[in-house]
């Protein structure tokens, strides 16, 4: 008897389904293009306009923008990001202990988790729009906006790492008669601190980008430099500012990633790829999973 294998039946309706999805995408495209007030000459002209500007951007006028203090502005963005991260870290740490399900009772956990979610849902830029009339233009508005927004994500991450700890040390402290505070200090804190401090650094990396953008609406930092050069169509200067910003962002990313790797060796939970997905979601405060 010969062993014949039955070929599996091909899935049905695939062509029709593909067609339907294609039509939906096409309709979505036509509908959205109809609202962008695109004319044919704008559409055809856009690449050449962009190219013309790109050509004017080279070479970047580093000396000129440096003389105007652009380097200081880039550093101001870094300071804003740093202090924003410090504010977020200090405020989120105690809250995270009250939000983790293994160490906090339900009546305090739920409201604090909702607080984290609500904070995460409001982007820094919107916070800055609200804060600028109150604080006035300048770095303090951006710092507060970043600090407040950071509470949401840092709190969520810290809560998750507290929830993933080994419960043995907590039991050990409790069995010796320790109170809640002592078990947090001696059982939980040493287990989570390496992970949490690497999250702080990671949030700092994100905040550097965020604070660069915040300057565009006057909340301090390098964004205002870029906007003012672009408004006056001074493209060599704009590209120099852009290059400085990208350089600083990439440098901080690299250094901070190296430090984080060093900290996390031997820490609890959280691998790098899951955190990079978290980071993306965090840039805008969306749940990735």
């Amino acid at each position: 008897m010969t062993a014949t294998t039955q070929r599996p039946a091909p899935p049905r309706w695939t062509g029709e389904r593909r067609g339907a999805i294609g039509v939906v995408l096409l309709v979505a495209m036509v509908w959205s293009i109809s609202g962008l007030d695109v004319t044919l000459d704008r559409l055809l002209g856009a690449p050449s306009d962009a190219w013309a500007i790109l050509r004017q951007m080279i070479p970047p006028a580093f000396a000129r923008v440096a003389a105007r203090g652009a380097v200081g502005k880039v550093f101001e963005s870094v300071y804003i990001a740093w202090i924003g991260t410090v504010i977020g870290a200090l405020l989120s740490l105690p809250l995270a202990f009250m939000a983790a399900h293994n160490v906090a009772p339900i009546w305090i956990r739920v409201p604090i988790r909702q607080l984290f979610n609500a904070i995460r849902a409001v982007p820094e830029l919107i916070l800055a729009v609200i804060l600028i009339p109150i604080t006035g233009l300048g770095p303090w508005a951006g710092t507060l906006a970043i600090g407040i927004h950071s509470i949401g994500t840092l709190g969520k991450w810290a809560t998750e790492s507290i929830e993933s700890i080994d419960s043995g040390p907590i039991e050990a402290v409790e069995s010796t008669g320790g109170r809640w505070v002592s078990s947090m200090r001696w059982a939980v804190f040493p287990q989570v601190m390496s992970t949490i401090s690497s999250y702080w650094l990671f949030r700092f990396e994100i905040n550097v980008r965020a604070s660069a953008v915040l300057g565009m609406i006057g909340a301090g930092g390098v964004g205002s430099e870029l906007v003012s050069h672009l408004v006056f169509r001074d493209f060599p200067a704009a590209s120099a500012v852009l290059a400085l910003t990208v350089g600083v962002v990439l440098t901080i990313d690299t250094v901070s990633a190296a430090v984080r790797r060093r900290i996390i060796t031997g820490g609890v939970g959280g691998d790098d790829s899951s955190r990079s997905a978290e980071a993306l979601s965090d840039l805008t405060g969306i749940n990735h999973r």
Binding site: A50, I53, W82, I134, M216, V246, D253, I286
Partner: protein, 266 residues
């Protein structure tokens, strides 16, 4: 010497190392310096809290907010920007992601160049792109759509190329062993296994784009942010707050729908 039963020697207390102290001191010094630079002062918290301007945010003029021309119409524009840039950005991301994964790249130079370019593109924040595009091709939603297309491309290739990296190489090897050329091998060997992730990432990018397109208008790139910026400049903070509430609700609804769709996909 072994400790007698029931009695154990206490482990030695870790000593404070000079390096640790040095690092902590340096971080503290940097923090203090940075705090001065940004104008930090504990009293400012109270000043912010007790500022009389907060009253300007209240009450929310709901009839203005729900008047269709004021908020609804620019909101539709926001969605149009988000939709077109998601479709274009994710469409372009498909081939670029394959070039960026060591598993599927056609050759080494393509791999290196596409990675380097995309890293730089991603290092530029989305609103910088928007401002550049506004300057290059004029104020309005068209510039916003361009900027978000670039942004979606950069995010999507990051997410999707990582998925492709982790894909099962077996079917691809089989297709190549059977003599398949590059593109058809990818089409039959890799794409079917990663396509659900592709759609899930695309939905996620759409969420990002809705959020980003809300603030695009702050730099003149169209959508609801344009109205937000205008009302802000007229000091109508009550209207600003009303719009923010609407944005918050709509974005939240979209996120919930998208998250549940993505859960079903993966």
């Amino acid at each position: 010497m072994t400790p007698t039963p029931g009695q154990s020697t206490r482990p030695e207390r870790p000593r404070l190392r000079a390096r640790t102290v040095g690092i902590a001191a340096a971080l503290m010094a940097f923090s203090v310096f940075a705090a001065r630079e940004v104008g930090f002062d504990p009293s400012t918290f109270w000043e912010v809290w007790s500022n009389p301007l907060w009253e300007k945010f209240w009450p929310i003029p709901w009839d203005w907010v729900f008047d269709s021309g004021n908020v609804l119409q620019p909101f539709v524009e926001t969605f149009q920007i988000a939709t077109i840039s998601t479709i274009l950005g994710c469409g372009l991301a498909l081939p670029v992601s394959f070039a960026m994964s060591s598993l599927t790249t056609p050759n080494r130079p393509t791999y290196l160049v596409s990675r380097a370019v995309m890293n730089v593109v991603r290092a530029v924040p989305d609103l910088f792109w928007a401002k550049l595009m506004v300057t290059a091709i004029g104020i309005g939603a068209f510039a916003g759509a361009w900027a978000l297309t670039i942004f979606s491309l950069a995010v999507m290739v990051k997410l999707f190329s990582e998925t492709v990296d982790g894909a099962d190489p077996g079917p691809l090897e089989a297709a190549r062993a059977a003599g398949g050329r590059h593109a058809p091998s990818l089409r039959t060997g890799i794409l079917p296994t990663v396509f659900p992730d592709y759609v899930a990432h695309a939905l996620y990018v759409f969420e990002l784009n809705v959020r980003a397109s809300v603030v695009l208008g702050l730099v003149g790139a169209g959508g609801i942010g344009r109205v937000l910026e205008a009302q802000r400049q007229f000091f109508r903070f009550d209207r600003v707050l009303g719009m923010l509430v609407i944005i918050f609700v709509v974005v939240w609804v979209i996120e919930q729908v998208s998250v549940s769709l993505r859960k079903r996909l993966i």
